[in-house]
Subunit: 328 residues, 2 copies
Amino acid sequence: CFSQDIDYVLETQSALAVDLGGTNLRVAIISMKGEILKKYSQSNPNTYEERIDLILKMCVEAATEAVRFNCRILGVGISTGGRVNPHEGVVLHSTKLIQEWDSVDLRTPISDALHLPVWVDNDGNCAALAEKKFGHGKGVENFVTVITGTGIGGGIIHHNELIHGSTFCAAELGHIMVSLDGPECLCGSRGCIEAYASGMALQREAKKLHDEDMLLVEGMSVKNEEPVSAVHLIQAAKLGNSKADNVLRAAGAALAVGIVNILHTVNPSLVILSGVLAPHYENIVKHVVSQRALTSAQGANVVTSELEEPALLGAASMVLDYTTRRLY
Amino acid sequence: CFSQDIDYVLETQSALAVDLGGTNLRVAIISMKGEILKKYSQSNPNTYEERIDLILKMCVEAATEAVRFNCRILGVGISTGGRVNPHEGVVLHSTKLIQEWDSVDLRTPISDALHLPVWVDNDGNCAALAEKKFGHGKGVENFVTVITGTGIGGGIIHHNELIHGSTFCAAELGHIMVSLDGPECLCGSRGCIEAYASGMALQREAKKLHDEDMLLVEGMSVKNEEPVSAVHLIQAAKLGNSKADNVLRAAGAALAVGIVNILHTVNPSLVILSGVLAPHYENIVKHVVSQRALTSAQGANVVTSELEEPALLGAASMVLDYTTRRLY
Ligand SMILES: [Ca+2]
Ligand SMILES: [Ca+2]
Ligand SMILES: [Zn+2]
Ligand SMILES: [Zn+2]
């Protein structure tokens, strides 16, 4: 039947991408070219059962709507906070931000319910896969992405593949330490780059300045109910607050020393900074790399990601690249 | 001819191993089982020409003598300080300790003169290969070796292969920084673990203590012409000098934080400490890993190498494993 054949050819090969974060549970329909055709967002439930139910419900809704877009869904890719065994599709251990999320087999229930293959990896690794397929990492054999949001995560591509490590906790780049003491980190250690340069860390410093009445400068205000955050620190620095500027520089320098440590360990040719804070760190990272990396490692490019949704795009890429991938 | 066949069967498949260090040039005949059948040592010449000539001379002598041991030499493996492109057999850049050793093609002249295949890699990488074939790394898919001698070097095995990186300077583990400032390092940066925990760093601290008359304790002496070194620091600590002990602990703690950074980057299942200082650092490294690594990374074993000649054995292993290796 001729018209069906045409329809089939005109179908867009697509993926359902799921992003499980500390706050939201999001699902998207993403095409082979990386277009986000439709995006759904809900708050991420606090219990395992509600979360699985909501993932299924949102995926079914998206899969139904995909028909309207003439999309053929090839599978489901899931990005989640925490440590993941991607071979098994199991979340081994979650961050504190996602509750009831230890030893969770995501592949079996979702694959069984939706009759689709399912891939799972952690959000930092998904971001790296997204850069590989759709971003600055296209065609780059060895690169690293460092994501600075609330916390700091990352992913390492070596010989075109993610490094997962022996217990799937490689690229825990937020917990690279750049000080023998330094500020306390959520992980229990001290001096981690997350404790210097994450959104949380900047918020901590912004609050300190605000408590001392040294944050706000002319042209700025913080409403009573509004929490002081990294945003205010950046705004204050831009408006000439030298204390705020110093905090941002110190944070950037710490992040950069951590990145030099990565260069001296896996020697990538490219570092992709990603997340809301990335643009503020790019210059200082470049500067510190030129000052403190070995000459032979200084050739590494440092760029800011241009992807708007690295976690979702990376989750989709696990599906879209499956024929050429080793896993599953 | 029957007896010749038997002879052939009884031959020991062997390698010529060359180790180019800051002080010595050494050559050894090493069997498939890792036995060092014969070892030659000379001072490493200061010029490129003399060095190449001496390598050839020593290799010819060793190859001749190998016949007496009924060894069949399969090739030449070379371990050298500096950065190496192992695909090409070229030394890209040397450490300050080896002069006239930049952009040196080692493979072509040695292969041409000896009519044998030649492999080259840097000493830290060779040490990792040695552990993989003959040491604690046997059968371990992902591990790291950290060598503390005069400086600090290392090698990373990931999926049973060395990580060389995009410009062949991966595993420059000595220049992982654990302080935003910290002691100056030979590389031009500060706070590198080499600047805290290498033989050079301990010698610097030993001299400081000695200058303040706080190094020697009862039962110790330093002859006038003898340079104060890490050995005296270790001896003093053992004899109850708490200042010396503190220096060693601080050095070990810095090394350990650097090792935790490696765990959080490539997540190996095993860390092999090697070099003369390794036994002194094993306990503190274990302790710091248990205190400062993420729970999921704490499972990494920390052991001290049992190999006496990691560089030579690793150089030999490049030859002995060549049939199963991808390079060359
Ligand atoms: Ca990660
Ligand atoms: Ca190395
Ligand atoms: Zn941490
Ligand atoms: Zn250094």
